[in-house]
Amino acid sequence: MLQIENLHAEIDGKEILKGLSLEVNAGEIHAIMGPNGAGKSTLGYVLGGRPGYEVTAGSITFNGEDLLEKEPHERAAAGVFLGFQYPVEIPGVSNVQFLRESLNAQRAQRGEKPLSGAEFLKLARAQADALGLQHDMLKRPVNVGFSGGEKKRNEMVQMGIIDPAFAILDETDSGLDIDALRIVGDGINRIMRRPDKAVLLITHYQRLLDYVQPDRVHVLADGRITRSGGPELALQLEREGYVGVGAEVAA
């Protein structure tokens, strides 16, 4: 589904990703772990197409198409969803309005009919229920006045409504208490654990992986993947730290 080859990317002239390669197949959940400053969030932004993140070499192919050729909204329509580490507030715009316009913009790009207000509301309420988000939160301005946990839950509600083929979730577990962590983990499994979908989980800690079992775990250090393994690699990292698994080595 996703092939990243020899990806080099920089911001403000500073190289952050230095030859990163990664392949994610449909039906798989991959976890990316690594120390602060390794380039984890940069990878998420480059996949999402954030302006200012310049790709200087390498390629990203998504379902056979060159992802780097696409604008952020075109990537969304192609099925890529980026869950933000710090979800952004948009004052004066309700969650419902934001998501309905977004979803219908994606559908228009794919040549599908827009959802009516009623159809959309039904969908949004079902997703909010599944993630334990109060219905009145849907009417409130996007992320304004939400607690850290509510923002992350709201990201998952958005993911449920948009129903992407591929999700990059950037530290979705940060700021969540134990109960919320379980709810969010269940949400990821429910929405994304499908043979035709895939997930890239960017995380610092093992704890989210207790709820969302990864098929593959990668260590990202100094701008490239330094080690890959099965779920046991995450447990080893938790025990021994990044130093223990050689992540500090910029070979």
Binding site: G49, E71, H73, E74, F84, S102, Q106, I162
Partner: protein, 487 residues
């Protein structure tokens, strides 16, 4: 990154959507401005002697005045002799029904999407609502719809020319009482040469059964449009009035100097909403409307209320301060404004709240949005007279910047002569953030849609004040006005 610039350029290339001119025969006044022009207009309208005298008095006064220069505007010199002051679509003298209207004019209105034919608006939203339209095409009001139904309710809704002939006492009593002839340069000019406009009288205790609407459109080349609007709400009356404006695309600048006077008696309420979409000129600042407008309300009666809501997206230059004189005890004035400037547009707009009566209250919410190389100024006055006990005012001015070459300015004047007054003023300036744009785009919105969404959110408090059918149009307009402003 795929190029954001290409998209921005494509969007910039989009043109003013309402920039079509209609080919119809028009009757012009001789070019230029003199007493003869004033007499010509008055004669064309079969006006009584007192009206001509009133105009001539204004014209003589105007000749002694100079254009104001205190606004933060760069206004090129205007050659008042190089313009037509009156243009009338040639047609049969009177129209018995809409079917007799010049098909070209009708087509123009249809392109604009004006509900000139009687129709139910937005069925299903708040029940079927009706809007009565008085359409001003250049200088003449061509059709007034719903007249019969309004007449049954006792509401007078006419072009001001007709009102001068049919209700001279009522017009004479109020014309120039809220905005005196000598109020300012442009109001004086309007008093001399106003060509048409709207008159509304809502009698005691009557709640006007529908929204009243006037659609102004400047079509002829080199004509100024000088409409004059007078609305009187008698004791306990209520009326909601909508004003929409468009103009075709012209290279030359066209002058628009209107005067709007509102009077609210005891317990009366007037809600006045404007969506102004005059041609703003091109991206280099060529052409566009000069919109120099004087709008003022007199809250004469106890507990009367006037609410101004404006969405200003058009015009090359906007100079406009819809104001409230709160004379009656307990009267309330409100001003809700969204002003958008893009490219080379300039806007200096705001309000004056003059508190004369006791326990009077005013609310000012101004949202300025600047893009391109435009300049956007809020200028407001809150004055509390020595006699005005327990006055309250709340002012909020927010500015949103969309480029690094545009300007946003806030100039609040506060004059308080009574110590019991409570005045609050809040102001913010922010730039649209890359985080917000990327967040919205990553959910599927293109750059233009993302900007439109964020801007609409910013302006929401004001847009909420608009009647439903106008709010939808205004939201679209905000998006269209800002096309090409990001990138």
């Amino acid at each position: 990154m795929a190029t954001k610039n290409a998209e921005a350029h494509a969007a910039v290339a989009k043109k003013y959507e309402w920039g079509f001119a209609t080919e119809i025969e028009q009757d012009f006044a001789p070019k230029g401005l003199s007493e003869d022009t004033v007499r010509y207009i008055s004669a064309k309208k079969n006006e009584p002697e007192w009206m001509l005298d009133w105009r001539l008095k204004a014209f003589r006064l105007w000749q002694t005045l100079e254009a104001p220069d205190w606004a933060k505007l760069n206004v090129p010199p205007i050659d008042y002799q190089d313009a037509y002051y009156y243009a009338e679509p040639k047609q049969k003298k009177t129209i018995a029904s809409l079917d007799e209207l010049d098909p070209e004019i009708r087509r123009t209105y249809e392109k604009l999407g004006i509900p000139i034919a009687e129709q139910e608006v937005l069925a299903g939203v708040e029940g079927a609502r009706k809007v009565a339209v008085d359409a001003v095409f250049d200088s003449v009001s061509v059709a007034t719809t719903f007249r019969a139904e309004l007449k049954a309710a006792g509401v007078i809704f006419l072009s001001i020319s007709e009102a001068i002939r049919e209700y001279p006492d009522l017009v004479r009593k109020w014309l120039g009482k809220v905005v005196p002839q000598r109020d300012n340069y442009f109001a004086t000019l309007n008093s001399a040469v106003f060509s048409d406009g709207t008159f509304v009288y809502v009698p005691k205790g009557v709640r006007c059964p529908m929204e009243l609407s006037t659609y102004f459109r400047i079509n002829a080349e080199n004509t100024g449009q000088f409409e004059r609007t007078l609305i009187v709400a008698d004791e306990g009356a209520y009326v909601s009035y909508l004003e929409g404006c468009t103009a075709p695309m012209r290279d030359e600048n066209q002058l628009h100097a209107a005067v709007v006077e509102l009077v609210a008696m005891d317990d009366a309420e007037i809600k006045y909403s404007t969506v102004q979409n005059w041609y703003p000129g091109d991206e280099n600042g060529v052409g566009g409307i000069y919109n120099f407008v004087t709008k003022r309300a007199l809250c004469q009666g106890r507990n009367s209320k006037v609410s101004w809501t404006q969405v200003e997206t058009g015009s090359a230059i906007t100079w406009k301060y819809p104001s409230c004189v709160l004379a009656g005890d307990g009267s309330v004035g409100e001003f809700y404004s969204v002003a958008v400037t893009n490219n080379r547009q300039q806007a200096d707009t705001g309000t004056k709240m003059i508190h004369l009566g006791k326990n009077t209250k005013s609310t000012i919410v101004s949202k300025g949005i600047s893009a391109g190389r435009s300049d956007n100024t809020y200028r407001g006055l809150v004055r509390v007279a020595p006699t005005a006990e327990n006055v309250r005012n709340f002012t909020q001015c927010d500015s949103l910047l969309l480029s690094d070459q545009c300007g946003a300015h806030t100039v609040p004047y506060i004059e308080v002569k009574n110590p019991s007054a409570q005045i609050e003023h809040e102001a913010t300036t922010s730039k649209i953030s890359d985080d917000q744009l990327f967040y919205a785009m990553s959910r599927g919105l293109d750059a233009e849609a993302a900007v439109a969404l964020i801007v609409n959110g910013f302006a929401r408090e004001v847009l909420q004040q608009l009647p439903m059918e106008f709010a939808v149009e205004a939201q679209k307009l905000l998006g269209i006005s800002l096309e090409g402003s990001v990138g």
